[in-house]
Symmetry: C2
């Protein structure tokens, strides 16, 4: 099984993003989608979308504490996004695994964990590449970090350094979309988690450090030469006319879910 | 068959957009994708993507004349985008239909034509809704025109006016994503086409005028109360670090397709 952990939060494009993402995942055999809402309560929008998605899924939620959350107007790099949500997904995985131990013990033995933001674009081949991850597998990510792509650099079948536009000497200068971890490793390291207070660009490192060394990374996607995932971002829709009409009592029906 | 006509043009996010779009369409039975590139020649990127998509498709191309094309820095509403490409798709449909007449004459009789931009988000239900279009079917579009949604307004089963934030009295104030046309109607009106010189906001009207009246529109999506398509737009990725590294000869490998 591939466990995909997706942080998500309420905004105008949320349903659109989750809709197209669910369509991608629906093509992938043996995928379990763990959707973690950045909210105080589970929302009906996400509940209904998951229920009609046709996917195996788990709906979780945890609110990012206000002091760790980006505020309107903050530059997007100021604070990491989705850290508590990914940790909540990890917590659920470990709890579920330990509850089922003894019953069908080895069930999760060849499972893989992947962190998939709700706005990226994923090729179907990516999931086949990550499926046999032993510890941590890695591959390039397109359109990230101000670059056409960032990528591990492979020599003689091993990752020897990283192609990145910024601080190549970070422990793991890899975007969240650029690696998967075996369930075995997640369970063997019960304290591994994302540090929501990590400096900019160090969130991935805060999790991977201690789990794996650069030498142990398993390069996928034809030795990291193919782009199978893109760090796309969706424009925030303008609501100028909506706001003007609302002032006249003529706004779009608020009962219609968008 | 649903014939989906998609204009597309080369840019950093093109492969990502077409990748996720192809995954959507791959869930839809009896869909034929007509991809029309805004280019002088068919490109290898689109050819390879289509060939490995698993979809039934046709790859066409036609370059937008320079004087009709948006230039870097122009506001996006200045000129209609994709008009010549959609017309090229219509041309191919009519030519193909007339070539096959006599052989399997009625084959296209219950076919439907839909214009799907490469950056929007489409629910799978949308395609079921449009499948039995008699003349022109319509439904709401989310996140368009500065509004939460724009929509035909239905009373007594008929479209009586339009909910839109701007010039409600245009003949058809409907986004490209908000209607489908029966193949029969397209063939019965061999001159119906998009006017690439239409004023802003009148491109859809230039095609629909003459094909149908407001009274004849067939409302779908539960009498136009459900949002099944979203006018999402993807951010243009920043390439600051890439450009800086390229100056040092350290840019991302240009042979890697992104
Ligand atoms: O306040 C927030 C902002 C973002 N996210 C989620 O965290 C992930 C990363 O956020 P985003 O895509 O905005 O980051 P960027 O594209 O800037 O790297 C996405 O799945 C978001 O839905 C979240 O849960 N709460
Ligand atoms: O120079 C261009 C610009 C756009 N398009 C295509 O035309 C459609 C509409 O363009 P866009 O999505 O940029 O329009 P908007 O989102 O602003 O309505 C999309 O399928 C684009 O790929 C095109 O073929 N050539
Ligand atoms: Mn993102
Ligand atoms: Mn668009």
């Amino acid at each position: 099984t591939i466990y995909v952990i997706t942080p998500t939060y309420a905004r105008l494009v949320q349903k659109a993003e989750l809709t197209r993402l669910s369509q991608t995942f629906l093509h992938v055999p043996q995928l379990h989608w763990i959707v973690v809402e950045d909210s105080e309560q589970p929302t009906a929008l996400v509940r209904d979308l998951l229920a009609s998605s046709g996917l195996a899924y788990t709906q979780l939620h945890i609110l990012t504490p206000k002091d760790r959350k980006l505020q309107e107007g903050d530059p997007s790099w100021l604070k990491p996004r989705g850290a508590e949500q990914r940790n909540e997904g990890l917590r659920w995985l470990r709890e579920t695994a330990s509850a089922s131990r003894g019953q069908h013990g080895a069930a999760s033995d060849d499972a893989v964990v992947y962190f998939a933001d709700d706005d990226n674009t994923y090729s179907l081949r990516l999931f086949e590449e990550m499926r046999d991850t032993k510890r941590v597998s890695v591959w390039p990510v397109g359109l990230v970090g101000g670059m056409r792509f960032e990528s591990p650099v492979v020599e003689g079948g091993k990752v020897v350094r990283f192609h990145t536009g910024w601080r190549p000497n970070r422990p793991f200068p890899i975007d969240m979309a650029g690696f998967a971890v075996s369930m075995r490793l997640v369970l063997a390291n019960p304290d591994a988690r994302f540090d929501g207070n990590a400096q900019m660009g160090y969130l991935e490192s805060s999790f991977l450090q201690g789990l794996v060394t650069m030498e142990q990374l398993e390069p996928k996607a034809e030795m990291c030469t193919k782009i199978l995932v893109w760090h796309t971002r969706t424009e925030k829709p303008k609501m100028k006319r909506e706001e003007a009409l609302q002032k006249q009592g003529l706004g779009s029906d608020p009962h219609v879910e968008v």
